[in-house]
Symmetry: C2
Subunit: 542 residues, 2 copies
């Protein structure tokens, strides 16, 4: 029996089928439904079915861009974005899907998107996704970065990492491939991904000029963006806030510019002594993104790469510019989120959210960690999960994971899982701290199972059932241990939960409450307890 | 060459030799000194040398308790505690040792101990320790729990875990052994430990009555405490705040009583219908602890074991009682710290510190985690490192680690390391957030090494050099990669740090600053840059 299985909840129309992982529990405990990102499962050679195909078609506002069979684009010059629909008062099937998924009113979803406080990244050329939403009123989301580098990895490996990441809970995946075969790698990832895919187009553009940033141009970049938009990329990181005059602000830093996109654009600006083409052509870029409903992820090219550089002038100057660009994008009907740091000590985290929300007009914040110390390479999933949980609590909408390999090498499959798990913890801890409706039900169900020694229920409710079960079985592998009222951590005599249960059980048998037993004048009941065997430990087999 | 080695810094007298781990760096970068807990290294069969022996003897206030060769005790009825000395205005060698260790004025150390805001756990029968201090003005400390259980483990394994824990940075170790041979296990641990050892004496007392808490008595407990004090236990968890009238408050909880000591005492109170003997005999207990300088760790027997139970009436009622007991202990000259939870969502963490500091008169707070969600068994070192970092930032003085096996089984060697590392991260992140003098120097040195591609320096400065090096080498094992200006994460063309460096280098060669190059009217410099090859990437071999 598989106690954890996929179920679908229907919306107002039969083709809105929202996935959940449902966990059956023992006894009369009701099953628990968990948010599920794993998708329906795909054959890499076939790809996923186009769930959103009919929804996109029936709006009647898109058409093949260059004749039958070519990618879709807006047909009549108007933005085909969820933002445009939301502003027009339309609750799209995508919006209803996320409403069911989040347990929220569809009208709230529409309103949050319409105001720009949330984004629903959903390129019209990526019909395979199960829609999701990123915004501070919703569950905190997690992004996983994957992608080949010039030094290592293959397409098949990266598609596997994408599936693996969504199995463990990644809400979006960024394909940061560099090196050879970027287009083909991305095609495989997009066609098989049940979650929105993000990219950083400047990476591919740079490959097209053999890695020389001074050879980059607006035209080359534009064509790369269109190529990716036609493939179905749902959101794109654009470092349009790295202005020529900000570059010197990063010079005195301990770690200079640590964003790849930021350093590329800084090099271009200095070499050409011109303002960044991403900034000067930003309105044109908005027009392109509006045609496919690609969401902006305005990159923080000047984010701090060390504790010493946190919240400095360079970082904040860029953030202010991102706020200006947000307004421009919104004017073009394009959805926007804002990227944030990076490396930030705990006491400087809140300021990041407060300034971003203020300067960027409450556009969703999407941060990398932040890492709360620089001293633990190989453990930066932990140094950053601390910062991620806190920044999530303060209102960040999506957390970009950091893996144990950060700063050291390209993450492998195990690293991807370690990063996703650490960030699901951070995101859920933030949901609890924000008092997100329903978030605590998961904790309560698991803790109740723990207290009642329903080991299988506890495993099945865990973020990672496989590892929880394996750790338990490492010291008590026998099947009876799965119903034992203790584990090897404390052994039978020292299990406090068991003692508490036994106290309650004794009181129940005696027809009194524990409160009564503790009240003054109940000496005889105490005597009875001692007389009745007096032991609060029952035999192991009980 | 071992770039990371132990050095000793002398105090005002030659026998005060304070250990540090010194890391030599390349070029003209000064070496970095890190706080070091590993001790001088011991042969398990021999034990460590009695560093503090002369200091204890020369105070002339202790004597063998039962003739030559028996354990020491106070000789003249006065407390022989660091608290008593501090109040008398004496800076002991132990205090000077920690002053050097923390880079603080010895008078500050004395003052913090005298007021009770810090403790220096140092039993007169544990001369082997390298003194350390626990208080909010000092570096945040980490405790590692080890110990046999009835189900698993051996003495040799536990001594090895203790050494292993201190190697990775544990500041104190609690021996929570239950089952067989508790006395012998503790003896081996104490004699070999360079850090203070804590215990929970009720565990051994319970073994003496075959696990039946109703058979416990003050006399049996008292004798167990004396036995352990004579062995050299430095601090003891005493759950004296679990009062009879508080037990019913825990009944409606999701997870009842989760402290072993708390549940044992609750069972005793209910069975006997009497107030806890730990509470009624507390003054007598203080007199005993004062004779050996055993520090109280007043246990939180009613701590929450789930998110649902955090900061509830049961927990807070007990905390208030711990505040009363603190005053009693101080009146007897006994050092005190206060234990705290447990499972607490992020938004309820600060209240724990604020109430504890208020009600317990600023006695040091010593918390287990807290875990910020219940849903991730097998990853509770991470769920709790989040809470630990935050509670440390708010003023908690010592963090009790949680390992990946929490709730599932007894931690093995790997779990101990994982727990210690996660908590060293939390503690250091808290030190940074508190602005502890000198804390950021470590981050800055490592980040500078990272930015300058001094890979070996980066590894040697890491919290875990072995794993950092192994992760790097997993994809780029060749020796030249150790000086390469990139890693496999981004590859050579996309290394942002390298691009930034190259920009700086170009500017330096041209005799201009990057700021100048970015200023208006510097077009010719930009042209020069492009003419001069224009590439910001140098060959890999450069």
């Amino acid at each position: 029996m598989n106690a954890r299985r996929k179920v679908y909840v229907a919306g107002s129309r039969p083709d809105i089928q929202v996935p959940f992982a449902e966990v059956d529990l023992a006894g009369d405990n009701p099953p628990v439904r968990l948010y599920d990102t794993a998708g329906p499962g795909s054959e890499p050679e076939v790809g996923l079915p186009p769930l959103r195909g009919p929804w996109i078609a029936e709006r009647g506002d898109v058409a093949p861009s260059r004749g039958a069979g070519t990618p879709l684009a807006a047909a009549n010059g108007k933005p085909v974005t969820q933002l445009a629909y939301a502003r027009a008062g339309v609750v799209t099937p995508e919006m209803e899907f996320v409403a069911v998924r989040e347990g929220m009113d569809p009208e709230v979803v529409r309103e949050e998107i319409a105001t720009g406080r949330a984004v629903l990244p959903a390129n019209i050329n990526h019909p395979e996704i199960e829609p999701m939403i990123i915004g501070k009123r919703f569950l905190v989301k997690v992004n996983a970065n994957i992608g080949t580098s010039a030094v290592t990895s293959s397409i098949a490996e990266e598609v596997d990492k994408m599936s693996w990441a969504t199995k463990w809970g990644a809400d979006t995946v960024m394909d940061l491939s560099t090196g050879k075969r970027i287009h083909e790698t991305r095609e495989s990832i997009v066609r098989n991904s049940p979650v929105p895919i993000g990219t950083v187009p400047i990476y591919q553009a740079l490959e097209k000029v053999d890695g020389d940033p001074t050879k980059l141009s607006w035209e080359l970049y534009r064509d790369t963006v269109i190529e990716q938009a036609e493939q179905g990329v749902d959101y794109m990181t654009v470092h349009a806030g790295v202005l020529l005059r900000y570059v010197p602000l990063a010079v005195g830093r301990v770690t200079g510019i640590v964003s790849r996109g930021g350093s590329i654009m800084a090099a271009w600006c200095l070499a050409h002594h011109q303002e960044s083409f991403l900034y000067t052509h930003f309105a044109e870029l908005c027009e392109i993104l509006a045609k496919y409903d690609v969401t902006f992820s305005l990159g923080d090219g000047l984010r701090p790469g060390s504790i010493a550089d946190a919240n400095d002038e360079a970082q904040l100057a860029e953030l202010k510019t991102l706020g200006e660009l947000t307004t421009v994008a919104w004017d073009h009907g394009v959805q926007v989120m804002i990227e944030g740091p990076g490396h930030v000590p705990m006491h400087k985290i809140k300021e990041n959210v407060d300034l971003q929300q203020d300067w960027c007009h409450e556009a969703p914040f999407y941060t990398l960690g932040p890492l709360t110390t620089d001293v633990a390479p190989a453990y930066d999933h932990i140094t950053s999960a601390i910062g991620a949980a806190m920044i999530g609590m303060f209102g960040t909408a999506m957390l970009c994971y950091v893996t144990p390999k950060e700063h050291l090498g390209l993450p492998d499959r195990d690293d991807v899982k370690a990063g996703v798990i650490a960030y699901k913890i951070a995101a859920h801890a933030a949901d609890l701290a924000k008092g997100h409706p329903g978030a605590q039900a998961w904790d309560d169900a698991l803790s109740k199972a723990r207290f009642e020694f329903r080991w299988e229920d506890q495993f099945n409710l865990s973020l990672d059932p496989d590892t929880a079960r394996a750790y338990h079985d490492a010291t008590l592998p026998a099947e009876p241990a799965k119903t034992a009222h203790f584990c090897s951590m404390c052994g039978p005599k020292f299990c406090s939960m068991r003692i508490t249960q036994d106290l309650q059980k004794y009181a129940d048998e005696q027809g009194i409450t524990v409160a009564e037993a503790a009240q003054a004048g109940m000496q005889e009941k105490s005597d009875e307890f001692v007389d009745a065997g007096g032991r609060v430990y029952l035999p192991v087999t009980s």
